[in-house]
Amino acid sequence: MDSDAVLQKPSVDEITQALKEKFPCVEIKGTAVRRVFAKVPREHIFKICKYIHDNLTFEHCSIVMGIDYVDHMYTVYILTNYYTGTAIELTADIPADDLHIDSVTPIWQGANWHERETWELFGIVFDNHPKLERLLTPKTYEFFPFRKSYKLRGWE
């Protein structure tokens, strides 16, 4: 199969095969009905997302979110195909000492506010983001309230 071909309605098998062929670094963690779970290295996230958007016709970025595992962080992308209803979950591992990852906003405008939110709540910097400013929290905040290191008053 030609890896640059545009697949209008890719099935789950086609998606996994295409991803494996095109990007050997992608680790497919599992599949389910209309679901693909994959782990990607953070250096290639933009390339992979671009391929998924252009060639696999995933027009919609449902979510970009961060998970704080204290010693490292995850960003999770869930992408949706409007032709088949398939969703891909991409997970990128980010070491805690270098919280940088490429922004996917140039591909999906809808990821804009999700990335801003993830930045202000977790401190994950999205490179090439058009406007990485605080969105939900006041502009004066200098900490990242959703990290595990931020303790809630009254609980602990």
Binding site: R34, D68, G110, R134, W155
Partner: protein, 384 residues
């Protein structure tokens, strides 16, 4: 007169050119009749025409996701109600569905159908509130009051089903809290029958009036590609020509066993987005009729809830649901304890409102409320 205090005219002109004085920023919100909640829309006006817009949210940020990390799983159900007062049932449903996915369990058939009925009642509620808001935004109070009158019947159905009007606290992990009450199917079918007629009254009031139609038709065009790219979901997206509905294309619960149509329009203007929501109310009535029949066919003694463990095995799970306003989603990360490690909510309005610039640039300021009413703003879930 001192000669050196006079600034040369040329300098003033240059300064004025730099200052862009022929345009002005008007800040609409947070306390503004159009905003339907606490958010701000900054619009840049050239005369009456909007040339730039910037939405500002966050006044209601409660740290909902962080708070859930300190609560056990059942305790989060009433919290999920509070995400949005108009769509409380769908959010509770979504939360329970997510936890069930993480647990890897399947709930009884009857619970699935009851959830479908509750969801569709909630959808009609939400759409009626949206229609009421459209009425006031266009300057007509009659639509508002008529919609609120009809909504009252559906709130009564909520009371009949679970005892509460708005924050229902009804779905449970592993089913629903209680079976349908006695005569519920009779009441709901009567209400739906009445509503299908009453909705036509409101439609006649709006669609037969050329003023209403001309206020919505032909403004704020969005193409299919733009709509998909900025992440518009729900009725707003389907009005722009994207043929996608999670209930049909990625079915959850038992929506795949129910026969209904997904309204899609290619026009992409404000009027198309309005038409989609009205048509969806009719389709919801259709779904309710079928689902109530299925509940009846399952019999009185069918189980509606199963027991579930209080601890969720470590791992991740996510569920998507077609909210009245679009695609809502929850992502659960659990570490094997009885509290979630991280629970992320995707609110459809949060993304829809980020496209306010795309929707409102080029329209007149008089149309800004009419255009942004199609987002159906609810700040509880936007800011979380």
């Amino acid at each position: 007169m001192m000669a050196d205090s006079i600034v040369p005219v040329k300098e003033i002109e240059e300064k004025a050119e730099k200052m862009d004085t022929d345009k002005m920023w008007v800040i609409m919100g947070p306390q503004h009749p159009f905003s339907h909640g606490l958010w701000t829309l900054k619009v840049k006006l050239d005369g009456e025409i909007v040339t730039d817009a910037e939405p500002i949210v966050g006044y209601l940020h409660r740290g909902w996701e962080k708070e859930t990390e300190n609560r056990t799983y059942p305790k989060i159900i009433p919290m999920a109600d509070r995400l949005c007062y108009a769509a409380s049932m769908t959010y509770t449903h979504l939360y329970c569905m997510t936890v069930e996915k993480a647990l890897g369990i399947d709930i009884p058939e009857k619970a699935k159908y009851i959830r479908i009925v509750a969801d569709e009642v909630c959808r009609i509620n939400s759409h009626l509130m949206w229609l009421a808001a459209v009425g006031t935004d266009l300057g007509n109070l009659t639509v508002f009051l008529w919609c609120m009158r009809e909504r009252e019947y559906f709130l009564d159905l909520n009371v009949k089903l679970c005892g509460a009007r708005m924050t229902t606290n009804f779905p449970r992990i592993g089913g629903v809290r209680n079976d349908t009450t006695e005569l519920f199917d009779r009441d709901i079918l009567r209400t739906v029958q009445h509503f299908e007629k009453a909705l036509w009254d409101i439609i006649y009031l709006i669609d037969d009036s050329s003023i209403f139609v001309s206020r919505m038709k032909g403004i704020s065009y969005i193409t299919r590609e733009q709509a998909a790219n900025v992440g518009l979901t729900g009725p707003a997206m389907r009005g722009c020509g994207v043929d996608f509905d999670l209930r049909r294309d990625d079915p959850y619960d038992n929506y795949d066993k129910i026969d209904f149509e997904v309204p899609v329009l290619q026009e992409g203007d404000s009027y198309a987005r309005y038409m989609i929501r009205v048509e969806e109310m009719f389709q919801s009535c259709e779904i309710i009729k079928q689902a109530v029949g299925k509940i009846k066919a399952l019999g009185k003694n069918a189980p509606y809830r199963i027991k579930t463990p209080s601890r969720v095995p470590a791992g991740t799970a996510f569920a998507k649901l077609e909210d009245p306003r679009g695609e809502s989603m929850m992502y659960l990360v659990s570490d094997g304890t009885d509290k979630p490690y991280r629970l992320k909510v995707r609110s459809p309005i949060f993304v829809n409102v980020s496209s306010a610039r795309l929707q409102s640039v080029g329209v007149r300021i008089a149309d800004v409320p009419a255009v942004l009413a199609q987002i159906d703003m609810c700040l509880g879930e936007t800011d979380r």
